[in-house]
Amino acid sequence: MKKVRLIILIILGSFTFNSCSDWLYLEPQDGIIVQEFWKSKEDVEAAVMGCYASLLGNNQGSGYDIPQQLFLWGELRADMVTTSRLNTDFQYVVNGDILPDNRLCEWGAFYRTINYCNTVLHYAPGVQDVDPSFTTKALQHYEGEAYGLRALMYFYLVRVFDEVPLKTNATTNDGEKFAVPKSSRTEIFNLIKSDLKKAEEYAPESYGDIASNKGRLTKYAINAIQADVYLWTEQYDSALLACNKVIDGKKYSLVPGDKEWFTTLYGTGNSIESIFELQFSQDKQNPYYNIFRTRRYLVASPVAIEEYFPQDEYTLPQDADVRADGGSYKSSDNYSIWKYLGINREDLRAESESWAHFIIYRYADILLMKSEALAQLNRGQDALDLIHQIRNRAKASKISDVWGGATDKRSVNEFLLAERAREFAYEGKRWFDILRFARRNHYENKQLLIDMVLKAAPPDKQLTIKNKYEDTLSHYLPIYFGELDANPALVQNPFYETQQNF
C-alpha cells in the first residue's frame, strides 16, 4: 500500500509540476523586445538609424518603397519620363487614368518611417534615466533628426495627397484606435513647420564625417526643407531666410561643371554640393537600376529632352550642357535615365554596383529656391543672376536662355521652371515644381500644368485628361482603396469619389 501512495504522489506531482504559468512564458529568441531595448544611447542611435534605413527600402510590408515613390511621385505625372515596357500601374498614370487601385497611391511606407520617428521621440527621453552617459545634447541631436525626418515625410504626403491623417504618437500596442481621419492642409503644414523649427534648434551642424553630413539631417538640411516648405505655403520671406542660412553657413558649393561633374555629383555621391541624399550602398542597393535598366519600365521622354536640352548645332560636344546627353539621360542606351545608371558620363554601372544615391536636396536647389523666392518678392534681377549661376556652371545652351525681362515676373518664373527641369531632371522634383508654380496665387497658372500634362498624354486621351486636370483636386492622388477599406474614418478625395467603386 505504501508503494501505491508513493505512485499516486508521483502522479499528482507530475500534474502540478509545469502547470505554473512561467513554463508557458516564452520570449522570442530572434529579436529584441521593447522591455530589453531603449537601455542606452547606442539603442537610441540604432533606432534613429532605423528611421533613415527605412528610407532606402521596405523592411516590412509590400508595395512601392520610399525611394521608388520619391521618384515616381515626382516624375511619373510630369512630362520628362515615358513608359517603355508594359507596366500597368505606370501606364495608367501616363494615360491619365489614375484610379484608387493604383499602387502609386500607397502611402504605407511613409507612415512606417513616421512611426519609427514617433517611436524615437516617444522612448528616447526615457533612456536618459537609465543611461547616465546619455547627455541632453546627444538626445536633442537624435530628436532633431526624428522631427526633421517626420516633417519631410509629411511634406511629401501633403504635396501628393493634399490631406492626410496626422499621426504624431508612436504605435506600440493594439489598444489604440487606428482609424485616424484626415487633417486639413493647414494643420499638416503647421505640424511640419513646428517640427522643422524644433529640428533646426536641435540638429547639429555636423556629425563629424562627410557621409553622415550628407546622409543624416544636419541643421542645413533642415533649412533646405524649410525653404521648400515656405515656397509651397507662399511665404517667400521665410523661404529666402532659410536659403540664406544655408548659403551663409558656407559648407556647400556647386560642383564645377567639368568632365568630372557627373562622377562627383552622381557617380560617387556625397559631393560638396549635396545637402541630403539617400545613402545606398553595397549593403542596400537602389531600386532604380531594376526599373530603369533591367526592366526598362521608364525611360527619358524624347519629347521633353528635345524641349529642355535642344540640340545646338554650333556647340562642340565637349561644350554642351553637362546635364544633357550623358548627364541626365543616355541616348545611346535607349534614353535610359542615366543619373542612376552611369558610373561616369560614358560607362554603365554593373548591376551589382547599383548604389547611386538619391539626392533630395543639394546646393543648386538652394540657389534656385532662393531665386524663386526673390522672383516672388519682385527682385527679378537677383533671381535671374542665380539662375545664370546655375546655367553657367552647367554650360547651358544659349538656345535655352529664354526670358523676357527682370520685371516680367511670369517670364522669370517660366525660365526658372525650365531651368529647374534641366537641373533636377529625374531627381523627383518635376511634378512638384509644376504643381507649385501652377497653384501659386489661387491657381494663377493652372494652364501651365494642363499644357505640360497634355504634352505627354497619348493623342486619344487628350480631351479626357484636359477635363480631368481642370478640376484641381485631380492634381492630388486618390487614397488607395485598401486604405479606405481599412480606415473607415477616411474620406476619399472628392474628385475620385465617382471612381471609387470598382
Binding site: A47, D97, N115, T171, F178, G215, Q282, Q285, A486
Partner: protein, 1090 residues
C-alpha cells in the same frame, strides 16, 4: 528466421533476468525437462519463468541443449510459465512440486492472419470505449478495406471514404500532398488542418514559422505524413469538440487518429511482403497553338491595339526570315513544351513486415520503400520508412510499450513548382535545342537570356520569369531531404482494480534540408546576373517533446452504474530552427552549395536564421457514466495554457458535455429483435484555436537587413497585441445511430453547428497611418453547419459470397455572423482584367464571388451601340447613337468590334461596377462517396466513387490561355477568335496589353461538380492448397485502376481542386490553376505472407 527470433527473445529475457536481484537466491530448486509433444524431443532455449499472483515474472531461465532446466523459485505456491517460439505457451501451478516435465504442443492456430475482435471498439485517445457506448460523432475505417488500393499516403487512401471529411490532393506531383478538412472550415485564418494522432501521440506537422516557408502552402508539408499505409490498422475520425476534448485546441479542426498495427501474443512470426507497382500516365492535356498559329496571333494582337504592326526588326522572334538562319530556326519551330517535359510516371513500393509475439512480448517490425518517378521531368521521390512496435507485459498490472519509427525521404521537385504552367505559356515557335548561326542543330538547350516573352527573374516561389522549360527541368534543382524520427514510450499500471495510470513520453525529430541550385544553363541569363548559379540551402529542424499522464478509474456499481473518470495532463514543447543561405553567381555551375565563394548581401541573395518555440499544456477532467446500458452521459472540462498568449488570455477553459439514449435497450423496444442498436446522441463542446504565430504579445524590435552609413539600424517590427484572445468555438451535434440485422446495416446521421467566436483575422489591414499595414486580431464570428450521413451495409453475407455497400454524403456551409468594423469585406477589383470581386456579407456564406456577365463578342459597329431595357438604341441629344463604353468617366474605354461584350445590367451604355452580378459560390453543396466490394470465394472486386456537387470554379487556366493579352501561348480555342467585322463568335479579338477582354466574368466560371471513380480493384487470393508446398501461408494478387473515370461538366483540366486558404484570407475562392492534372494510374499489387 526462427533462430533470429530466438536470439532476440533470448536477449530480452536475459536482460530481465539480470535485472532481477533475487536471481539465484531462491530457496527451492525446481527442475525438469521441456519436450515437444509431437516428437518427444527436448526443446533447447525454451523459457521457464516463475510468475507471482499478478502474473509478474519473478525469475526465469532457459532450457539447455537437451531441454533440461533448473529454476530456483521463491515460493512453491507460485506458477510457472513455459513458452517456446512456435509452441503453445503453458502456465502451471507448481503446487509444491520440485520436478516438473512439460510437453509443449505446436501452435497451429497462428496461421490465422487476422485478429478477431469480439466487439467493435473505438480509440478516442484516452480510453477504448465500446463503439456502441459513444455519444459523440466519431467514424472509423479499418485499413483492411483499403489494403488493395494504391495509395502512397494515408490521406490518399482515405479520400472520400468518411462522411464530412473532404480530402483533395494539391497536385499530381510526387510528394504533393493532400488538403484535409473535417466538416469544412470553421476558422478564417488559423490553421484548419485536422490534428493527426498516431497511437495516441499527436503527429506534429508544424513547420517553423519561417516566413518564406509559411507561404509555401500545404504542399510544403505534404510529405510529412510519412507513415506507410501498410502499417496502419485503423483510422478514427473525431469530428466535434466533445469528441476531441482530449486533444484540446490542437484537435479543434477534428482529429484523424491513426492506430498502427501491433504484434500479437503467442504467435509464430508472420512475415508479409507486399509489392505495389504503379504506372502513371497523364490524361490528354489542353490543346495549344503551334508555333505558326502563335506567331499569327501575336502579330494580330499587336496590330489590333493601335493599328501599328509588330516591329519584327526589334522582335526577330516573330520575323521568320530565312536569310537570318539563327533566328529563323530557333524561332521557327512547332514545339509542344508540355509534351517535352512530360513523361510516364512509375511508383515502386515494397513493404516487408514481421509480426509476432511471445507470452510477454509482442512485436511488429516493418520496413517500407517507395520509389517514384513523377510525370514531370525532374521530379522523383524516394522514401524509406521503418517502424518497430514493441509491447512488454511485465505483469497483469504493469505493461510497457515502446514504438519507434524512422522515415527518410528524398524528393526532387522542379526548381519552379509552376513549371507546367510555364510550359503551357511558352512560345511554341521557340526551339528546345539551339540551332547555330548557319541553322544546324546543336545538342545544347536553347536558353536565350531574354526574348519577347521576357527573361528569367525571381520574385518569389510563385513569380518567376520565363525560361526554356526543358532546360529548367533538366538543370534546375530543388531537392528536399526529410528525416523524421518518432519515438514513444508508454507505461500502463493498474494501481488498484479499476484504477489505471498511463504515461506517455514521445520525442519527435523532424528535419528538412532543402537544396536549390540554378545553373546558367537553366535560364540563359548573362553570367553576371545574380540568378546565375544561384544556390540556396534551407535547413529546418523541428523538435517536439510530448508527455501525457492520465489516471483513469472505472467501476461498475450494482451492475447498472458504469462509471469512468479520467484526469489527464499533457504537455507539449516544440522548438523549430531554420537556417537559410542563398548566394548567387558562384564561379562555376559545379559549385552547387552556397558555402562556395559567391555573391551575397545583395538583392537576390539571402541569409537568415530563425528560432521558434511554442509550449502548451492541458489539464482535462472527464466523467463518463452509463446507466443500465441505456443512458449515457459524459462531461468534461479542459484547461489549456498556451505560450502564444499574454498572461491575460494565456489559459482557456473548454467544457464539453454529451449524452446518448439507447432506445433499443428500453424494455418496450425488445420486440424489435432486428434492432441491434438504436441510439440518439447529443453533444455540446467548446474548443479554441491559438494564433498562428508565436510572440505576438511582445513589442518586437528587429534589425534591418542593411545598415545605414555602416551603422546598425533597428526598427519596431510589430506592436504588442494586448487584446488578442482565443478564437473559441462551440459545437452542437445531434445524431442517431442505427444498427440492424446483426450488423448488416449501419446508419449514422449527424446534424451539427459550429459557432466560432472571436475569429482570428490574420493580417487584417489597418489604417497604415499607424505605421503598420496589418495586424492580427479577433475579428468576428461565423457558423458552420451541416450534416453527415453514412450508410454501411452487407446486403449479402453467405459462406462464399459477401457483398458490401457503403455510402456517405455530407453537406456543410458557413455563414458569417459578425465582423469587426475595420475588417475589409471586399477583395478584388472589377476594373482589372482577370480579377473577381469577392464580397463577404454578414448573414451569408463565405466564398461568393461577383463579376460581369459575358455575352460574347461585339460583332460589328452596330453591335456597339448602347441599348435601353427594351432593346432600343440610345441616342444622345444630338441624335447620334451612343456607343458602349467601359468605366466612364475614369477609364472611358470605347468598345470596338471584336471586344468582349458584357451585359449592361442597368442599360446606361456604360459597363462599370453597377453591372457586376453574383456569379457563384466556391463551396460545394454536397461531398461524399460510395463504393462496394464483392467477394466470391477467392475473388473480390472493389470500387469506390467520390465527388462534390454544386461548387463553382474559376477556371484560371482557361482565362490565362484564352485572354490573348500577352505573349503567352494560348489554346486552340482562340483559333475561332474574332478577326474581321461581322465575324460572329464568342472568342474576342486578340489585343495584346490593351483592352478589357478578360474581365472577371462568368465566361471563366464553371460548375465544379464531379463524380470520380477513385479506384476499381480486382483481387485474387490464391487458395492455400496451392501455397502450402511453398511454405506460404497467404498470397494475394490484385490490380487497381485509379482515377479512371470522371463524370463532370467542367471543361478545365480537373475539377478536383483544393480551395486553398493558405494565404490566410477569408476571400479565397476556388481557382483552377491546374498544373499537373490528376494522373490515371494502374497498379499491380502482390502480397505474400510466410
Amino acid at each position: 528466421m526462427k533462430k533470429i527470433l530466438t536470439c532476440v527473445l533470448f536477449l530480452i529475457s536475459g536482460v530481465i533476468l539480470l535485472q532481477n536481484p533475487a536471481f539465484g537466491q531462491g530457496k527451492t530448486l525446481l527442475k525438469g525437462k521441456v519436450i515437444s509433444n509431437s516428437d518427444k524431443l527436448g526443446l533447447p532455449g525454451a523459457s521457464i519463468a516463475e510468475l507471482d499472483k499478478n502474473n509478474r515474472i519473478i525469475k526465469g531461465t532457459i532450457t539447455d541443449v537437451d531441454g533440461n532446466y533448473v529454476l530456483p523459485v521463491t515460493s512453491l505456491d507460485n506458477r510457472i510459465q513455459v513458452s517456446f517460439v512456435g509452441f503453445k505457451q503453458q502456465i502451471l501451478d507448481i503446487n509444491g512440486r520440485t520436478h516438473i516435465n512439460i510437453a509443449l504442443n505446436e501452435d497451429v492456430t497462428s496461421l490465422q492472419g487476422v485478429e478477431i475482435v469480439g466487439e467493435r471498439k473505438i480509440n478516442t485517445g484516452f480510453m477504448n470505449v465500446n463503439d456502441r457506448d459513444l455519444a459523440v460523432p466519431i467514424e472509423k475505417i479499418s485499413m483492411k478495406k483499403l489494403e488493395d488500393v494504391q495509395a502512397s499516403t494515408v490521406d490518399e487512401a482515405l479520400q472520400g471514404r468518411i462522411s464530412g471529411v473532404d480530402i483533395v490532393s494539391n497536385s499530381g506531383d510526387p510528394g504533393g500532398g493532400m488538403s484535409i478538412r473535417i466538416r469544412g472550415v470553421s476558422t478564417l485564418t488559423a490553421n484548419s488542418k485536422p490534428l493527426i494522432v498516431v497511437d495516441n501521440i499527436p503527429y506534429e506537422t508544424t513547420v517553423a514559422s519561417d516566413f518564406n516557408f509559411a507561404t509555401a502552402n500545404e504542399q510544403g508539408y505534404a510529405q510529412m505524413l510519412n507513415i506507410s499505409v501498410d502499417d496502419i490498422k485503423e483510422i478514427t475520425v473525431l469530428k466535434d469538440a466533445s469528441a476531441t476534448a482530449l486533444w484540446g485546441t490542437k484537435g479543434a479542426n477534428g482529429v484523424l487518429s491513426i492506430t498502427t498495427k501491433r504484434g500479437v501474443r503467442s504467435r509464430k512470426p508472420l512475415v508479409t511482403y507486399t509489392y505495389r507497382g504503379t504506372f502513371q500516365f497523364e490524361p490528354k492535356p489542353i490543346p495549344l497553338l503551334n508555333g505558326d498559329q502563335y506567331s499569327t496571333l501575336i502579330s494580330e494582337g499587336t496590330m489590333n491595339v493601335n493599328g501599328i504592326p509588330l516591329n519584327t526588326n526589334l522582335n526577330k522572334e516573330l520575323q521568320y526570315d530565312p536569310s537570318d538562319p539563327w533566328w529563323y530556326y530557333n524561332y521557327g519551330q512547332n514545339t509542344n513544351w508540355l509534351d517535352a517535359i512530360s513523361r510516364n510516371g512509375f511508383i515502386n513500393n515494397h513493404d516487408l513486415s514481421l509480426t509476432g509475439g511471445g507470452s510477454k512480448t509482442t512485436y511488429r517490425f516493418s520496413v517500407n520503400y517507395q520509389g517514384q518517378t513523377g510525370v514531370t521531368l525532374g521530379t522523383d521521390l524516394q522514401r524509406i520508412t521503418s517502424r518497430l512496435n514493441l509491447d512488454y507485459n511485465i505483469s497483469n498490472k504493469l505493461r510497457l510499450r515502446a514504438d519507434m519509427s524512422y522515415a527518410h525521404g528524398k524528393t526532387n521537385s522542379n526548381f519552379d513548382r509552376y513549371i507546367r504552367a510555364k510550359a503551357i505559356q511558352k512560345m511554341p515557335n521557340m526551339a528546345i535545342y539551339e540551332y547555330d548561326a548557319s541553322g544546324n542543330p546543336t545538342p545544347n538547350y536553347f536558353s536565350p537570356s531574354s526574348n519577347i516573352q521576357g527573361y528569367y527573374y525571381y520574385n518569389d516561389e510563385k513569380h518567376m520569369g520565363t525560361y526554356n522549360p526543358v532546360a529548367m527541368a533538366e538543370y534546375g534543382m530543388y531537392q528536399t531531404m526529410n528525416d523524421r524520427v518518432d519515438t514513444k514510450f508508454s507505461l500502463y499500471y493498474n494501481i488498484l482494480p479499476g484504477l489505471t495510470f498511463a504515461s506517455d513520453v514521445a520525442f519527435t525529430v523532424n528535419d528538412f534540408k532543402r537544396n536549390y541550385f540554378l545553373p546558367q544553363k537553366a535560364t540563359g541569363r548573362p553570367w553576371t546576373d545574380i540568378t546565375v548559379n544561384m544556390a540556396r540551402d534551407n535547413d529546418e529542424d523541428n523538435y517536439t517533446i510530448y508527455t501525457n499522464n492520465r489516471l483513469t478509474y472505472h467501476k461498475i456499481f450494482n451492475k447498472v452504474h458504469d462509471l469512468t473518470a479520467t484526469v489527464n495532463f499533457q504537455t507539449n514543447d516544440y522548438r523549430g530552427l531554420v537556417y537559410n543561405v542563398q548566394t548567387g553567381n558562384s564561379a562555376s555551375s559545379s559549385l552547387t552549395d552556397p558555402s562556395n565563394p559567391a555573391r551575397i548581401n545583395e538583392p537576390g541573395t539571402d541569409m537568415y536564421s530563425t528560432t521558434t518555440q511554442n509550449r502548451d499544456d492541458g489539464l482535462l477532467g472527464l466523467v463518463n457514466y452509463i446507466f443500465k446500458d441505456r443512458y449515457i452521459f459524459a462531461a468534461g472540462v479542459r484547461r489549456e495554457g498556451n505560450s502564444r498568449f499574454d498572461k491575460k488570455y494565456r489559459f482557456g477553459y473548454f467544457p464539453s458535455l454529451s449524452g446518448a439514449w439507447r432506445i433499443s435497450g428500453e424494455p418496450f423496444m425488445q420486440r424489435f429483435t432486428f434492432l441491434d442498436d438504436f441510439r440518439l446522441k447529443f453533444s455540446y463542446g467548446q474548443n479554441g484555436h491559438s494564433p498562428r504565430y508565436p510572440y505576438l504579445f511582445f513589442n518586437n524590435y528587429s534589425t534591418f537587413n542593411w545598415t545605414y552609413l555602416g551603422n546598425k539600424a533597428i526598427y519596431p517590427a510589430d506592436m504588442e497585441l494586448q487584446n488578442l484572445k482565443w478564437e473559441s468555438f462551440t459545437t452542437k451535434d445531434f445524431g442517431l445511430t442505427l444498427e440492424m440485422f446483426k450488423s448488416r446495416l449501419m446508419i449514422d446521421l449527424d446534424f451539427y453547428q459550429n459557432s466560432t467566436h472571436d475569429m482570428f483575422g490574420n493580417n487584417v489591414p489597418i489604417a497604415s497611418s499607424s505605421g503598420y499595414s496589418n495586424v492580427t486580431m479577433n475579428v468576428g464570428s461565423m457558423d458552420v453547419q451541416g450534416w453527415d450521413f453514412s450508410f454501411r451495409s452487407y446486403p449479402v453475407r453467405t459462406g462464399d459470397l459477401t457483398v458490401s455497400f457503403d455510402f456517405n454524403i455530407a453537406r456543410n456551409y458557413n455563414i458569417l455572423r459578425s465582423v469587426a468594423d475595420n475588417f475589409p469585406l471586399e477583395r478584388g477589383r472589377t476594373t482589372t482584367n482577370g480579377d473577381y470581386k469577392r464580397i463577404i456579407q454578414v448573414g451569408n456564406p463565405i466564398g461568393s464571388f461577383y463579376g460581369y456577365k459575358y455575352l460574347g463578342v461585339f460583332s460589328n459597329e452596330n453591335d456597339i451601340i448602347a441599348r435601353d431595357a427594351d432593346g432600343n438604341k440610345i441616342f444622345d441629344p444630338n441624335g447620334n447613337p451612343v456607343k458602349m463604353v467601359y468605366n466612364y468617366p475614369s477609364i472611358n474605354y470605347q468598345f470596338q468590334p471584336g471586344d468582349a461584350k458584357y451585359a449592361d445590367i442597368n442599360h446606361d451604355g456604360n459597363i462599370n461596377y453597377l453591372d457586376v452580378v453574383y456569379l457563384g459560390d466556391a463551396n460545394p453543396d454536397f461531398t461524399g462517396g460510395f463504393g462496394s466490394s464483392v467477394t466470391y470465394k477467392a475473388f473480390s472486386f472493389n470500387f469506390f466513387f467520390y465527388g462534390r456537387y454544386g461548387n463553382e470554379i474559376i477556371n484560371r487556366t482557361k482565362m490565362n490561355t484564352e485572354n490573348m493579352f500577352n505573349y503567352n501561348n494560348q489554346t486552340t480555342a482562340t483559333l475561332k477568335r474574332w478577326k474581321n467585322p461581322g465575324d460572329v463568335t464568342d472568342m474576342p479579338r486578340a489585343l495584346i496589353g490593351y483592352g478589357y477582354n478578360w474581365l472577371g466574368s462568368d465566361r471563366f466560371v464553371e460548375d465544379g461538380s464531379f463524380l470520380r471513380l477513385k479506384y476499381i480493384t480486382f483481387t485474387y487470393r490464391i487458395p492455400s492448397r496451392y501455397l502450402d508446398k511453398f511454405g506460404i501461408k497467404q498470397a494475394r494478387i490484385s490490380t487497381t485502376l485509379n482515377n479512371l473515370l470522371t463524370f463532370t461538366n467542367y471543361l478545365g483540366q480537373d475539377p478536383e481542386i483544393s480551395i486553398n486558404s493558405s494565404d490566410g484570407t477569408i476571400y479565397t475562392v476556388g481557382y483552377d490553376d491546374s498544373t499537373t492534372p490528376r494522373t490515371k494510374e494502374v497498379t499491380l499489387n502482390l502480397s505474400v505472407t510466410f
